[in-house]
């Protein structure tokens, strides 16, 4: 889950797929930094060094070969993890899963557990006077979406009006919610915890005031939550 670059850039990622994504991002940034440093040094040398044009550098085949090989190697280094991530994402889409339908409305999300009829609710942002001690302002909601850990969950995301986006940055998830279109993705959560996100598509002024709070919990707790909510 953790990696060498942690603490320098993105949030701590709370799933295997998300941490691979994080690693890939850090890897690409390092590569970019390497290229940037190399080119800067070369330019510095060309500008300030005692370099003068040598006739033998005309038609310099070996130099041209290097200029083709090194970029190719860099692209290959990016391609391998990129493709493996793509295949990994494909493998996550399993057939057996618990389906959660997420609908974006103006200023709230509604969640519907398609496998459990009757288990559906709206999730509004808590206003300042509703907040309890320790709850984050602008992120806490009145009804969190609760899901069990280590179970394959399929989220079906859509919107009832304008375009919204269901995004959780500590899980590397961002899916646009569009009316009439169903975006789906499967995910399995290896860690318990509460994860916060905000609508990430400009759906109107103050669109970020429709936060997403996802509570990943143990299987037994999820069962008791189901009964509690149904009653």
């Amino acid at each position: 889950m953790n990696n060498f670059f942690q603490g320098y850039n993105l949030l701590f990622q709370h799933s295997l797929f998300a941490s691979y994504m994080d690693w890939f991002h850090s890897f690409n940034c390092s590569l970019l930094l390497g290229v940037l440093v190399f080119v800067t040094l070369l330019f510095g040398y060309l500008i300030f060094g005692t370099f003068y044009f040598k006739s033998k550098k005309i038609e310099y085949q070996f130099g041209e070969l290097l200029c083709s090989i090194f970029p190719t190697i860099i692209l290959l280094m990016q391609m391998v993890p990129s493709l493996s991530l793509l295949y990994y994402y494909g493998l996550m889409n399993l057939d057996s899963n618990l389906t959660v339908k997420v609908t974006g409305h103006q200023w709230y999300w509604s969640y519907e557990y398609s496998d459990i009829p009757g288990l559906e609710f709206d999730s509004y942002m808590k206003s300042l006077d509703q907040l309890s001690l320790g709850e984050p302002r602008l992120l806490e909601v009145d009804n969190r979406c609760v899901i069990p850990c280590d179970t394959n969950i399929r989220f079906c995301i859509t919107s009832a009006d304008v375009i919204h986006a269901w995004a959780l940055n500590s899980l590397s998830v961002k899916l646009d919610a569009m009316s009439g279109i169903l975006s789906t993705f499967s995910y399995s959560f290896p860690m318990v915890g509460v994860f916060y996100g905000q609508c990430s598509e400009i759906c109107g002024a103050n669109h970020s005031f429709m936060p997403i709070a996802l509570e990943v919990t143990l299987l037994d707790n999820f069962k008791s939550w189901c009964f509690g909510t149904m009653e």
């Binding site: 899963n97 169903l182 005031f209």
Partner: protein, 115 residues
């Protein structure tokens, strides 16, 4: 000469040792992948059976298509732009709209549960 020997003998040797370990790791990986997927499937089965045993009626065969059918029925053409809530403003209007929304969705859910 000794360098040439390393290229002829040493490099293939290391390539076989390291390469085969890398190749074998794919076969080994299947085991871990299967175990993980099986655990997830088992958890889901356990959840379903426990919920059913406790008296909840579960819907079978939920697919993306069946969810899409529900989505297609949503009336997405008629909506009004609603001004979002702001901490620093008077929220009377917004709270009124919120109450209406909650009332409307409660009615829809009641209708659904009666069907």
């Amino acid at each position: 000469m000794s360098r040439l020997k390393f290229v002829r003998v040493g490099l293939p040797f290391f390539a076989i040792v390291l390469g085969s370990a890398y190749g074998l790791h794919f076969f080994q990986q299947v085991r871990f992948d299967f175990r993980k997927i099986k655990q997830e499937d088992d958890n889901l089965e356990l959840l379903r059976s426990d919920l059913t045993r406790s008296g909840l009626r579960l819907r079978e065969g939920v697919t993306v298509e069946s969810v899409y059918k529900e989505v297609a029925e949503l009336d997405t053409d008629n909506w009004e732009n609603i001004r979002g809530p702001r901490d620093t403003e008077d929220l009377t209007d917004y709270n009124l709209i919120k109450k209406q929304q909650q009332e409307a969705s409660r009615k829809v859910r009641e209708l659904k549960s009666n069907v």
